[in-house]
């Protein structure tokens, strides 16, 4: 069937090999042990966070099928969850996903200007990724930090009280450290277990 007919490339399996490291698998066992016997499906969302972070920044069919296998549930149970929650990305994203809050309290405190400035600066529109695959720009809803508006997150880390100068600094810093690996204590794996 024609691939273009689908909004999500959800049905396209590439049969790439995906797997977690033994160390990650051990952490995942700990997370599963937090739920009663037989309720291991509860660990799905935590595991998808880890999968997305460790296996390339977004979820694809190969990854989702792998997670289904780990939890011994059907692939559709993973797909329906992955497509419901806004923090899971089905399409590929850049290394840094910038999510700007666009909801009321941020909007009245300059959130709209922040978004416009980022679009100009990164030369992309909301929803797009830069050519060097470094930055994706997304608009999200209230991040629960309205007192420090305007607010955005970069890969789920908060940046608050934003202005143009701060944006310049953040982007410059990210460009500089893009080659480095993420400190272990900031990962989902560490925080969840």
């Amino acid at each position: 069937m024609n691939e273009k007919l689908f909004k999500y490339k959800l049905y396209v399996k590439n049969n790439n090999d995906v797997s977690f490291t033994p160390e990650t698998l051990a952490k995942i066992q700990t997370i599963i042990s937090h739920y009663p016997d037989g309720q291991h499906k509860s660990a799905l969302i935590p595991i998808l966070h880890i999968a997305q972070e460790e296996l390339g920044g977004s979820l694809n069919v190969d990854i989702m099928d792998y997670v289904a296998g780990l939890l011994n549930i059907t692939p559709i149970e993973v797909y329906e969850v992955a497509t419901f929650y806004s923090q899971f990305y089905i399409d590929p994203v850049g290394k840094y996903v910038i999510e700007v809050c666009q909801t009321g309290p941020c909007a009245i405190c300059g959130g709209e200007d922040i978004m416009n400035y980022l679009e100009e600066k990164l030369k992309i529109k909301v929803g797009e990724t830069t050519g060097d695959k470094l930055f994706s720009l997304k608009a999200v809803e209230c991040l629960g930090a309205c007192g420090s508006a305007p607010v955005m997150q970069v890969n789920t880390e908060f940046h608050e009280f934003l202005d143009m100068q701060k944006i310049d600094e953040i982007i410059a810093k990210l460009r500089n450290e893009s080659e480095l690996t993420k400190p272990e204590e900031l990962t989902w794996k560490e925080r969840l277990s």
Binding site: P36, I45, E80, P105, I108, G144, C146, G147, L192
Partner: protein, 452 residues
């Protein structure tokens, strides 16, 4: 009067750590509850305290606890709702970031009262750093024998774990939260059965907000009777208010219920007045789901009495001239704020966050958004304004969960109180097309004529 229950000692360096928290009186309530009280006695104290749910609905906590099915023989669960995603609300994040042990202490007492041996804290996925903080705190508790088997030698066992969401406002609704905790999409369940009968994994469950549970330690230590002396009337205790928008001091404040709204807005101890010396235009007092009130009605009720920060006073006048305390997300708008744009913004939010299960909500929120978009962009007609009211009334009360109402009420209230602004948008498309925010009247030389 200054009164701190939840944020007491928050200024102490290192209070996030178990050791410091305990040096300052933390976890005393565990000894008292587990060793000297029966579970029913704890429930009774909470009933006497008059504590009401701080997640938004204000349901009496002790009463909710007494509904839990103790006869089924199934395990019981306590679940803490830390999904905090109601626009304007950021109090739970503040509490969890600074003093996570306050919640854990409250949860141990509460789980004991309910006879639950397993409890979860459901934290929204965007609060990744908070999840780390909570897990650190939980590890400290396990090590100190405050969690796990035979807590402090009392014979009571409790396992407490953190669970994460992944970006869905609807998962704050308690049954959607339980679905999500079971590893599914966040689709709210039809009630009844209520979670107290069939909740997590089909077992009796209580879902409470972070702030609600953070009060329990104090109540156990000081008695429900003492708690009930704080506050005003049936609004007992203190409340965390997260203040944001066009004010000088945005932030989280613990207030004694009954504080005059005017004092909260203008005192330097709290909001510190409207930013830039501007005039106050309107306030949404309890998160984006509650009706917006114009200046005159937020400061005073229609009857001319001073409006107080309490459940009763804020809802005085019903939805015609009143609002709700809700989650305590206090959003302030100055004279230059555009109510139409703001209403459009929130209906986009609700449309985006609707889970799509019921058609009045799924379709209605989409209609509200597109009609408001049209008006905001200077393409609206006069009859669109009544269309908004009509759509809102058709969503209200016709849905599985209250998200539908939460989307409808604010639109109805905005039109009720600020109809002339909506009409202005229809009458002056050339102005609204070019000016995106701010008070539009000032772009006119002549005063606006409205149809009223």
């Amino acid at each position: 009067m200054e009164r701190k229950i939840i944020l007491e000692n928050i200024e102490i360096d290192g209070i996030r750590l178990l050791e410091v928290y305990r040096e300052n009186g933390g976890y005393k309530s565990i000894e008292k509850a587990l060793k000297t009280m029966t579970p029913d006695e704890v429930v009774a104290e909470v009933k006497t305290s008059g504590l009401r749910g701080r997640g938004g609905a204000g349901f009496p906590t002790g009463m909710k606890w007494s509904f839990i099915d103790k006869k089924s023989g199934n395990p019981r669960y306590l679940v803490c709702n830390a999904d905090e995603s109601e626009p304007g609300t950021f109090k739970d994040r503040y509490l969890l970031e600074h003093i996570p042990h306050r919640l854990i202490e409250g949860m141990i007492c509460s789980a004991y009262a309910l006879g639950a041996n397993k409890a979860y804290i459901y934290v929204r996925g965007e609060f990744k750093s908070i999840i780390g903080i909570l897990n650190e705190a939980l590890k400290e508790c396990y090590k100190a024998g405050l969690l796990g088997k035979n807590i402090l030698g009392s014979g009571y066992d409790l396992d407490l774990h953190v669970h994460t969401g992944a970006g869905a406002y609807i998962c704050g609704e308690e049954t959607a939260l339980l679905e999500s905790l079971e590893g599914k999409r966040g689709n709210p369940r039809l009630k009844p059965p209520f979670p107290a009968i069939k909740g997590l994994y089909g077992c009796p469950t209580v879902v409470n907000n972070v702030e609600t549970l953070a009060n329990i330690g104090w109540i156990v230590n000081n008695s429900g009777e003492e708690y009930a002396k704080i506050g005003i009337g049936r609004s007992t205790g203190t409340k965390l208010i997260s203040a944001c928008g066009n004010i000088n001091n945005p932030g989280v404040y613990e207030i004694e219920l009954g504080l005059p709204v005017e004092e909260f807005i203008y005192s330097d101890k709290y909001c510190g007045g409207v930013k830039g010396g501007k005039e106050l235009k309107a306030v949404i007092p309890g998160g984006s789901s509650v009706p917006i009130l114009p200046k005159n009605l937020i400061l005073n009720t229609l009857a001319g009495e001073k409006r107080l920060m309490s459940y009763e006073s804020l809802s005085e006048g019903g939805f015609i001239t009143g609002s709700m305390l809700g989650s305590g997300g206090f959003i302030v708008y100055d004279e230059d704020a555009c109510i139409v744009r703001n209403t459009y913004n929130f209906s986009r939010f609700y449309h985006h966050e609707s889970c799509g299960q019921c058609s009045p909500c799924r379709e209605g929120t989409s209609w509200l958004e597109s009609v408001l978009h049209r008006i905001e962009n200077g393409q609206g007609k006069m009859k669109d304004i009544d269309l908004l009211v009509s759509i809102a009334s058709k969503i209200e009360g016709n849905t599985i969960c209250p998200l539908g109402d939460a989307a409808a009420w604010p639109v109805a209230a905005a039109v009720r109180h600020f109809r002339s602004e909506f009409e202005f948008h229809v009458l002056h498309p050339e102005i609204v097309k070019n000016v995106k925010h701010g008070s539009l009247e000032k772009y006119l030389e002549i005063p606006v004529l409205t149809a009223e």
